[in-house]
Symmetry: C2
Subunit: 355 residues, 2 copies
């Protein structure tokens, strides 16, 4: 089944499972502010998103099952909670007031602050405080799908173990990235490690959680890991290319953001590694400036073009795509055709996407 068909089939059930967890929470709450708080979490979680992580979990489960059942839908949403909790905290850290065109979680509560007559906290402190706790709540709510479902306890404990590992990996990735922004020395292997953790690990764990519930042989785990992690690496490389050279009208994101933030993209690392010393130093100086002018942004972009970074980064993405294809090839004898199509289709989509 194609990725889009898979999404169409399962997203309503995924959203339903997410909503049920919040409704259960809301049932027992009388306090007005708490009601608003959990309603906002529900709205935030149901505001959209491609649900790639639960879909990967479901596909990995279905891949190894001869008969399809719906038991996997409930535990599949755990990883979506984890993803959203990270987004809530990331948006505070990055001071991004909007996410997918909607107000970020902290910004929702900055707006809510207008309801108070007394104002002991500033609007911004209030919003950030509620969102720090909000992200925490979503992390914890993400445990529920593993605690209350139709699988046995062994599988659920194992899934919680993956859930914890996934967070640990994401945190390590974000921490390495935060550290990198303040450093001059950059190697492509550091970038790959960083994105494998920051983006790849949760895709990987989504797949492994599905496989765990299917009860498959441990020998396939390493292959499934490659599939998930490489999917994340490819996603992030293409994201970097689109973040600077994409079409704003299609991506919905400004193409000067990454350069202004001094983000350690694969474009930057490729450029640093291929330009001559003089130009390299000039580039590093440009992206290290605390105030970058429009002209500076153009200079960086010109140096990127001169270093031919789009092609070398696409080549890099293709290398990881090929590795993922090889992994999938090894799985072909043991998994269902419908899911082979799903994974092949998703890999292609992530590699070739323009948005």
């Amino acid at each position: 089944m194609k990725f889009t068909e898979y999404a169409k089939t399962y997203i309503p059930n995924i959203n339903n499972a997410i909503g049920t967890i919040l409704d259960k929470k809301l049932e027992n709450i009388n306090n007005t502010f708490l009601k608003t708080y959990y309603e906002e979490i529900k709205t935030y979680l149901l505001a959209g998103g491609k649900r790639i992580r639960p879909l990967l979990c479901i596909a990995a489960y279905n891949a190894f099952n001869d008969e399809i059942d719906d038991k996997i839908i409930t535990p599949s949403v755990g990883v979506e909670f984890l993803h959203n909790a990270s987004l809530v905290h990331d948006d505070i850290i990055d001071k991004d007031n909007f996410r997918r065109g909607n107000p970020a979680f902290h910004y929702r509560f900055q707006l809510y602050h207008n309801n108070y007559s007394l104002k002991k906290m500033s609007q911004s402190d209030f919003g950030n405080s509620i969102a720090i706790i909000g992200g925490d709540s979503i992390f914890f709510l993400g445990l529920e799908p593993f605690l209350f479902n139709d699988f046995d306890r062994n599988r659920n404990l194992e899934a919680i173990n993956y859930y914890e590992q996934a967070f640990g990996d994401i945190a390590n990735g974000v921490l390495i990235e935060t550290d990198m922004v303040n450093r001059k020395n950059l190697q492509m292997k550091d970038y790959i490690e960083m994105v494998s953790l920051k983006t790849g690990a949760l895709l990987e764990k989504s797949i492994l959680i599905g496989a765990n519930y299917a009860g498959i042989d441990k020998e396939y785990y390493r292959i499934l890991s490659t599939l998930g992690i490489n999917l994340g690496i490819i996603f992030q490389i293409i994201d970097d290319i689109l973040g600077t050279f994409g079409d704003e009208k299609v991506t919905g994101k400004p193409t000067d953001g990454d350069i202004r933030e001094g983000k350690r993209t694969c474009l930057l690392i490729e450029a640093i590694n291929s330009l001559d010393v003089k130009k390299r130093d000039y580039l590093v100086n440009l992206i290290s400036k605390s105030k970058i002018t429009d002209k500076n942004v153009e200079e960086v972009r010109d140096l990127f073009m001169e270093a031919d970074v789009i092609n070398s980064c696409k080549k890099l993405a293709t290398k990881y795509y090929q590795e993922a294809e090889d992994a999938l090839e090894k799985l072909k004898p043991v998994i269902n055709n419908s899911e082979i199509e799903f994974f092949e289709n998703l890999l292609k989509f992530v590699l070739e996407r323009k948005f």
Copy 2:
């Protein structure tokens, strides 16, 4: 066994169990920044604290066991991770740079920021960002004691369920408090609900997790809950009294902090409920001011004295103490003497403490 003896017996093992979890993490890490990060988490977790929560968990387990074993020590530290993770996030929210005389987690990384030559983020943003992730990490690390120990899977899943409930309760308590600071209407029942959640719930869940591992009859859970929650309520009422009328040299805390923050203490609520309308309005105006002068603080303190709040709050604490004693009485036929002494002693200590 007296509380202090219990602490002396178990704290070295508790610290050892905490250290082991971090050492296991550190073993697999090569990145310099990540090494520093997990070392700082370890230092933070081992910097002190009375370990009341793990001790409650251990005591509840021992209370129902004829033969003492050490299996409970590992899972008992989960609640200490939860407690510390909350402190890390609280300190960001409250902008407190110190905790127990040591730098707060976010402040440690503000200082670390000096190591960088490039500074894309401000010192304060850098510290807060690392500490948002730091609190998250500690929440997740707190799952490990329940995943890797010598108990069976049923008990571990149940413990994780309590772990999640404990966080949910703490969050609800902190949210209600944050909302209350911006509201004028205050009832003592709201205060009791707030502190039951913010402080009582984790003490309660620490006890319930211990009882769960002991495999006791569900009929005792309600009584154990009362014991834990009331311990929290008493702790918080006394904390409020000491926060404004304690001896700074003994408590180590300034006695104007709560008044300046406009904190909704039981003192304030008692005063509002017993002063005449004119004085009540004057008091509410005072504590609602965004800049409170030294003279204002003294005026608030005088109104508190006039309303005789110390006595009425002590009376309130004694009511919850009596309720906890009654709960303990009901347990006496089924639990060990050594732990009856522990709980009685702890209740007395919390009620009578001067620091």
